[in-house]
Every structure is written in structure tokens, then in C-alpha cells.
Amino acid sequence: MRASSLLMLLATAVVAAGCGGKKPPEEPAPQPAPAPVPAPTPPPDASADSARIARERAEREAADRIKALNADLMAMINFDYDQALVRSADEATLDRKAAVLQANPNVRLTISGHADERGSDEYNLALGNRRAGAAKRYLMNKGIDGGRMDVVSYGEERPLNPGHDEAAYAQNRRDEFQVTAGGENLVAPQ
């Protein structure tokens, strides 16, 4: 439950981040802490301080960039009822993953396919597997080595939304992407 609400938060972050392309790395820059610092500081330490501030800012920016890149890798995609075809609306999401994966050859992903509760319990495991496989093949067609991506399926066993309506079903028909290695020092794609 905690894990899935975390995923939802991340997904929300991704959606937010996703709209503006490269914005996330730049946005945090203007607002931070310098204001309180200058007033009491005597002249001798000024250069050391500004170096520290710059370093902290760089670290913060790097952390934000890595977070955003991880969010790109983890963004979910959704499917139509009883379908395992990547929807054109989700191609951009997968293309961003492909770019991040290209720029970071040490990253490994586990792709998990999920189904809504309406289909047959056992068939949904096969369907989820097919959905995860569809994302993997899409990424392989973009030049990503298949050995970096594992495919698993949870069928209908782990709904993201516990509801029993169309909106919930649409959310639950999905692929999740978990970064299993190399997510710590991500480099932004060119």
C-alpha cells in the first residue's frame, strides 16, 4: 500500500515533469537560500562561502536532475481493455525512457505488467506479461539492449486503484517500470 502510494506520487511528479521537457533542472535554481547569508558575513570569508553556496546549489541541482531522470524511467504507461499494444499517446513516455537508457548504460529496469480485475484471474497474468513484453520490445526497437530489462507480471493481483469503475480499471491496466540498478548517478541525455 505504501509502495503503491509512493508510486502514485512519483507518477504524479512524472506527469508534472513530463509536460515541460527539460525544465526541472533549471527551475529550482532561482529560489534558494542566498538571501539570509550575505548580511552578517564579514569580508574575509566571502569567497569561501560563495564557493560553498555554489557547491550546494550544484549538488541540489544534480539531485533534482537525477530525481527527474528517475521519474522519466519510472513513468507508467496504460493499456486499452484486453490489449497489450503500446498506445500512441504513451510512445513519448517510452521514448524518454529510451533516451535516458541510452545515456546511462548501467541502468537496468524491471517492467511489470498489470491488468484490471474484469478479465479472468489466470489469463490476466498472461496479459500482464504480454503488456510488459510490449514495452520491452518497444524499447529494444529504440536500440536498448534487451538484457537490461526484465519482464514480470502481476496480473490483477496488485491494483493501483482499488475502485471498481472504469476510471479505476483504466489506471490499473498498466506497465510499471522499476529501476533495479544504476539509478544513482544518472546523466541527462544529449
Partner: protein, 440 residues
């Protein structure tokens, strides 16, 4: 369902009418797809049977009476007035039972180490069959199953067909596999809490079960010995996702579906020698799953998405001669899943989505004709009783997905009580005495 309860009979008749009418509505619609909907209900052809009261043996009498009722082969007759007999063997008042409409009267009496059962043929005013059945103490783990066995034999005396009371079902609830007697008693959890177990099935001898252990999106098939509790992985199922296991009728082979990035395909493993998995289907990104053997072990019905949505196909047990089994209209017929071959080999039961709600269908293996058995709510994952006349299935008609049993001859439906939501039931064959294990 008692003679004195004319009201109950009327209610059931009314229920049957409702079902028939609902199905009749479906008929037109479904006929366009080449499907015939028939619900057979022929009231009045079942012989009346009365279980005579007597001293002691109350629990035995209650179990036997319920078992005989659940055969759906008798009209159960109740005596409206308290017993006039004191239970000692003596003249049976055939006239009274005949006037109540009973064709049979069952007399149960205590015998050293067991029970004497005596079945009277009321119309001929004579004893038809009698036998002393040894019974363990009612505290013994095998007691209820032994009583069920007696019921099954009494059913055979009266109808020529042995009953199915001495059977059990497996099902999944909350990620655990449970076992329950065919009358809903003796619930036992067979797999630990905190795991996700799916798709339990019985070995033909009732001594083992196979199921999928799902963990982190992958899963192996495990075979658990019901006597010792020992659990062994099935060779070849320890990578990827391995689902829908099914034993061959001789118990030597286990067929299952293996999922990986190339799709889902059916394999068969030689579990007798614990070796050698053989691939039976080549899906190329399609799914092939849910294998079920014909009773002679020579053919396997299964689900495939080779033509789009999942439908029911059949092949030889070595994977050759694959063809469609249950006819469907491309683009019109809903997804079909969960096939199970009938014990007599004549039919395969499965569920098919009608307006996105699964309903139970039978396909006649020889003629390839279809019959629909449910029409309201969700009805799914059917499993045959060994008599080939009853199947258990999951239905949400109570508001919760629970287990129900249908008699395909009369259309009568009863609930099999289970705790909470239940799914993926599997009915055992008739269980031999060696299958009696105390609850874990």
C-alpha cells in the same frame, strides 16, 4: 426441497422459470453467434426419498440426508410429524411413505463399530439393499469423509450411480489455498499466509496438489504432498512466470503455462521422473495457457489468443493437431477462459464473457455445439465434480465472489460456504481412504 414444503418447491420452480426466461432472452442474441442456450429442468422425475428418524446417529443422519439432497437425484421427503418408530428394526410403514410420495426410505441404525444402512423400496414394500458400514469415532479426522462414502454408496443403491459426497474442493482466498469438503465442512488452509498462491489443482489420486507460487511478478509451480505437507518445485518452472498447472489423468505429467517476454506457452513436465519439460505450443507473443486433459489423457484443451481475444482450442497431448474447440464469431464473441474437460470426456466447461461479464458455457466435444448455463452477474472458473453432472464455480450473486455448485440436469444451484471471497476452485475426484489426512 421437501414434499411438505410445497412452497419451497414452488419457489424453486419459480426461480427456474426466471432463469429460463433470462436465458431465453439470451437465446435470440446468442443464436446469431451459432450458440444454443438450453436450460433443462424437468421437475417431478426424481424419486422421493425419506430418511427415517431414529435414536442416536443424529449427526450421521444429518450428513447423509444432506449428501443425498446434494446429489440432486431425489426429492427429499420430510415426515411432517415426530417419529412414530422407536428405531428398533421392525415393520416399516410403507403405506405412509408411499402416501408422502417417497419411492425410497432410508433407515440408519447403530451397529457395532459403525452404522447399518437399509434402503427400502417403498413401492415394492421390501428392502432393496442393506449393509453395515464401519465408521471411525466422530472425533476421527476421517469420520466425515467415511460418512460421505456411505452416502455415495446409498445413492448408488437407489440410482445406480455412485454419489460425489466423498470429495473435496480446493480454492484460493486471500492468497492462500484452502480445502473444503463437498458439503462445505472441514475447512483447512493448505498454504501459508503472506504468500500469493494461485490455480490449485488436485493430483488424480487426491494425495497432492499443484499450484502457482506468485512472488515479485514471477512464479514457480509447486507440488505439495497433502499427507506430509512437503512441497517440491516442478522442474523447469523456476524461471519466469509459470501458471495454470494441470495433472494428466495418470498423474505422471504436469502441464502448465510458462510466461516470458516472448509470450505464454504450454509445457508438459514429466513429474513422475522429475525431469524433462516439453514445449507444446509456440505462441510468438500470443498466449497459450490453462491446459486441461481429456480423461484418456490423449488430448488437451487450452486457451489461446492466437486469433485475438482468448478462446478455447484443443490439441493432442504432444502438441500436434491444434484446432479451435469452442466456436466463436471473430469480433463479436467475448473472451473465453478457464476450460475444464468433463470426467466423461463429452464436454468442456469454460467461461465466456457476455457483455463483459463471464458466464458458464459447455462445449460438446463431438458436435462442437455450445450451451450457456448462467446469465446474470459474474459466473466464472467452473470445475467438474467427478459425476460430470455438477460443477462448482465462482459467482458474485451474493455480492461477494463465492463458490456455488450447479446441477446441469436440474439447473439447481447451491452455495458452498467459504470464508470471505473465494476463487479458482478445483474439485477432487472421489477420494480414497488414503487421501484422508488430518487438518494441518
Amino acid at each position: 426441497m421437501t414434499r411438505s414444503l410445497t412452497l419451497a418447491a414452488a419457489t424453486i420452480a419459480a426461480t427456474a422459470l426466471c432463469v429460463t426466461r433470462a436465458d431465453a432472452q439470451d437465446t435470440n442474441q446468442v443464436n446469431r453467434e451459432g450458440v444454443t442456450v438450453v436450460l433443462k429442468y424437468t421437475p417431478g422425475v426424481r424419486p422421493g426419498l425419506v430418511v427415517l428418524p431414529g435414536p442416536g446417529l443424529d449427526s450421521v443422519r444429518a450428513i447423509v440426508r444432506r449428501d443425498l439432497d446434494y446429489t440432486d437425484r431425489f426429492e427429499m421427503v420430510d415426515l411432517g410429524t415426530p417419529a412414530t418408530t422407536d428405531g428398533t428394526p421392525g415393520p416399516v410403514n410403507y403405506g405412509i411413505y408411499k402416501s408422502l410420495g417417497a419411492a425410497f426410505a432410508l433407515e440408519l441404525g447403530e451397529a457395532p463399530g459403525g452404522v447399518t444402512a437399509r434402503l427400502h423400496d417403498v413401492s415394492r414394500s421390501q428392502v432393496r439393499s442393506q449393509q453395515v458400514f464401519p465408521l471411525p469415532a466422530d472425533t476421527d479426522a476421517g469420520f466425515r469423509l467415511e460418512v460421505h462414502r456411505m452416502s455415495d454408496e446409498i445413492a448408488r443403491w437407489a440410482t445406480g450411480t455412485v454419489g460425489v459426497a466423498a470429495t473435496r474442493l480446493l480454492f484460493v482466498s486471500g492468497g492462500r489455498v484452502y480445502r473444503i469438503d463437498s458439503d462445505g465442512s472441514d475447512l483447512a488452509a493448505l498454504t501459508p499466509a503472506g504468500q500469493t498462491a494461485l490455480s490449485p489443482v488436485w493430483s488424480p489420486d487426491g494425495q497432492q496438489l499443484a499450484y502457482t507460487q506468485l512472488g515479485a511478478g514471477r512464479g514457480g509451480v509447486a507440488v505439495q504432498n497433502l499427507g506430509t505437507g512437503a512441497t517440491l518445485p516442478v522442474p523447469g518452472t523456476q524461471s519466469g512466470l509459470n501458471i495454470t498447472p494441470m495433472f494428466s489423468p495418470d498423474g505422471r505429467t504436469l502441464a502448465y503455462a510458462h510466461s516470458d517476454e516472448n509470450g505464454t506457452d504450454i509445457y508438459s513436465a514429466n513429474i513422475a521422473d522429475r525431469c524433462c519439460a516439453q514445449r507444446l505450443t509456440v505462441g510468438r507473443y500470443a498466449d497459450n495457457l490453462s491446459p486441461t486433459f481429456s480423461p484418456d489423457g490423449r488430448r488437451i484443451a487450452f486457451v489461446s489468443t492466437r486469433a485475438g481475444p482468448p478462446q478455447i482450442y484443443v490439441m493432442a497431448a504432444d502438441g500436434t493437431d491444434q484446432e479451435l474447440l469452442a466456436p466463436f464469431d471473430f469480433g463479436a464473441t467475448g473472451a473465453s477462459n478457464a476450460p475444464e474437460w468433463s470426467p466423461d470426456g463429452a464436454n468442456v466447461v469454460f467461461h465466456r464473457e457476455v457483455d463483459r461479464s463471464p458466464q458458464i458455457f459447455l462445449v460438446d466435444v463431438g458436435r462442437r455445439s455450445l450451451r450457456q448455463y448462467t446469465s446474470a452477474g459474474r459466473n466464472e472458473d467452473p470445475t467438474w465434480a467427478p459425476d460430470g453432472r455438477h460443477f462448482a464455480f465462482v459467482s458474485d450473486r451474493s455480492g461477494l465472489r463465492q463458490l456455488w455448485v450447479m446441477d446441469i440436469e436440474t439447473g439447481r444451484v447451491r452455495q458452498l460456504h467459504s470464508p470471505g471471497a473465494a476463487r479458482l476452485p478445483a474439485w477432487s475426484r472421489r477420494l480414497g481412504r488414503t487421501a484422508v489426512a488430518s487438518n494441518p
